[in-house]
Amino acid sequence: MHSDKTHSELAEKFNIDEPRVNWHDETLWWIRQKRDKAVWQLPEWESLREAASQIKHNVLAHLSEYLEAFERNAIANGITVHWAADAKEHNEIVYSLLQKHGITQMVKSKSMLTEECHLNDYLAEHGVEVIDTDLGERIVQLAKEPPSHIVLPCIHWKKEEIGELFHKYLGTPEGNADPQFLTHAARLHLREKFLTRKLALTGVNFAIAETGEFVVCTNEGNADMGAHLADVHIASMGIEKLIPKREHLGIFLRLLTRSATGQPITTYSSHFKQPRKGQEMHIVLVDNGRSVQLGREAFRNSLKCIRCGACMNTCPVYRRSGGHSYHTAVAGPIGSILAPNLDMKQYADLPFASTLCGSCSNVCPVKIDIHDQLYKWRQVLVQDGYTPKAKTLAMKAMATTLSKPGMYKSAGKVGRWMIRKVPGLVNNKLNPWYKQREMPEAPKQSFREWYAQNKKK
């Protein structure tokens, strides 16, 4: 989802409809509260997070060994393993498998990696029809939009709008916006796809180095319906999805859904180890910038992410700007530390789309220091020249003033005098502070002036 507009411009647009912002904020806050309720059920919660973080750290330190072990074991299990250095290679591998089997229609369950690779667009250009089978993803697909949230793809859509969309594309009666009814309509629509499509693509939540198996988590069962009915199953995964041992799943499955939605576990946690008799199973291991991020010491921990979305649900900025304002496949705080690795120029705005409040780091089940990384990305982006010249000049002037006590003192005095005498200088529409807020009153005397008069001996 490429955009010429920055996060702040897109967020401003999102904020035109304030009741809708309130609705969006409250919906996501409710999910944050469900998460809180679920995690308080486990007194060992904080130790679980720490253990998960340490396991993921071990994975990063031994990623090449784990990748080789996983490949070896997966091949022994009868799975074909492919390697893709970037999005283009990933898409070409998927297309070549479609071509090999003469398949032009396929189903796909949720995979943020394929969003990152823009697989659907690529396949559409090559005449392949892809049906997204997760209900939320199907809704945004019909609306020709990308998901706005990694776990809740259509969290920005109202049921009445979904009713209209389904009326247009699935022929449901006009004006029916009942979630139960609409879900049932989607069930019928998608069941036909599951029964007729010969190739299914799924994402991967966890891949186990020691066994060569992978785990896919869904609530709907759409990954399973696709994979178990198709002749060919392709599972696309980022190389950071590995965990060392099967027993580690106990930790990650306890953390994942409690963090994501407040459920104790997803409805289905499916462990794929061998292809079904007569079926082909493929895994595509995708780098696409991950090995570069691994080399960035300050940012490598971002690769620990298990894509639960908790940082989005808790983020006060995300809740009030919407997922699309981040103009990247993975929105929110985690997306803002992942995206600049892929393209610093295009995503230079994202690390600034935060107040650095730190709530994201606290809910993160693998303890990624998200807000600290946002701060560090700001430094990198400035140093590498991705900030506007005017901002740099202003900052230089500010730094000079603040490092010289005399200059600071007189600038403060003059500034306050001007605010008092010529309020129009600051109280105007060019001042973004003043647009919706009053300026603080400028007192006659600063504290240091008071101190000199009253205290200093």
Binding site: F352, M395, E438, P443, F447
Partner: protein, 242 residues
């Protein structure tokens, strides 16, 4: 005990009464307080904007001003956190001393002075938990963690005679100030501030207080634009009120 009073630049210029209250409160609690007059700013406005590399001179100045004190106390969690995390200078020993000995005002009272508060403020008050004080300095427990609750500033407010502290719907949501965020992300910043304000208003507060004047300045700007009777007051002013 010699305490160096570190007054954030915008407090010095716009909220002198907050610095005066801090000074008087610390003196009441038995500290010898000095305000080094050559101080300016901690450098956070540049650093949070990605220009930490321009803060070298500010850092040198800060170390020169404060390295001699037993403790450095500041009525702002955010500025304190910045110094704790980012202060480095040629005199690294001096910088390290400051990083270890700098305290936000309320944690200095609860953790170092450990003295009771004698103040009167007969009003209904909402406490705004500023993020850097809370999540950075850990002056209050964070709602995201499975951990026993506590709040250093609230424990002080509870000692104030006549003060009625309300419980908010969202007890530690960010107000949206965020330094330069408040102008570069104006729409979201203001919306966050409006939502914080309405949580306090809904619970019938007369005053919104907090340990960071920057958040309160932002909320005050919104309250005034709304012509609201609700006022903001820094916690130092309340703890110093008689």
């Amino acid at each position: 005990m010699r305490v160096g009073l570190f007054v954030p630049c915008y407090v010095d210029q716009f909220y002198p009464q907050v610095a005066i209250a801090t000074l008087q409160l610390l003196e009441k609690l038995g500290c010898e307080v000095v305000f080094p007059t050559r101080q300016t700013c901690c450098g956070q406005p540049m650093a949070n904007s990605g220009y930490e590399h321009l803060t070298g001179d500010c850092n040198e100045l800060f170390v020169d001003n404060f390295k001699e004190f037993d403790y450095i106390v500041c009525p702002s969690g955010s500025c304190t956190l910045h110094i704790k995390d980012h202060l480095h200078a040629q005199d690294e020993g001096g910088a390290q001393h400051i990083r270890k000995r700098i305290y936000e005002l309320t944690e200095f009272i609860t953790d170092v002075l450990k003295q009771p508060i004698k103040a009167t403020f007969p009003h209904r008050v909402g406490m705004h938990q500023s993020c850097h004080g809370q999540r950075g300095l850990h002056i209050s427990q964070m709602s995201e963690l499975v951990a026993a609750p506590f709040s250093k500033p609230e424990s002080l407010l509870q000692q104030v005679s006549g003060l009625e502290l309300v419980t908010l719907d969202r007890k530690d949501e960010c107000c949206g100030f965020g330094g330069t965020f408040c102008v570069f992300e104006e729409a979201v910043s203001v919306k966050m501030g409006k939502d914080r304000v309405s949580d306090h208003v809904k619970h019938g507060v007369e005053y919104i207080t907090g340990a960071d004047m920057s958040c309160l300045m932002h909320l005050e700007g919104i309250l005034k634009r709304q012509n609201s009777p609700v006022r903001v007051k820094h916690i130092a002013e309340i703890l110093n009120a008689e």
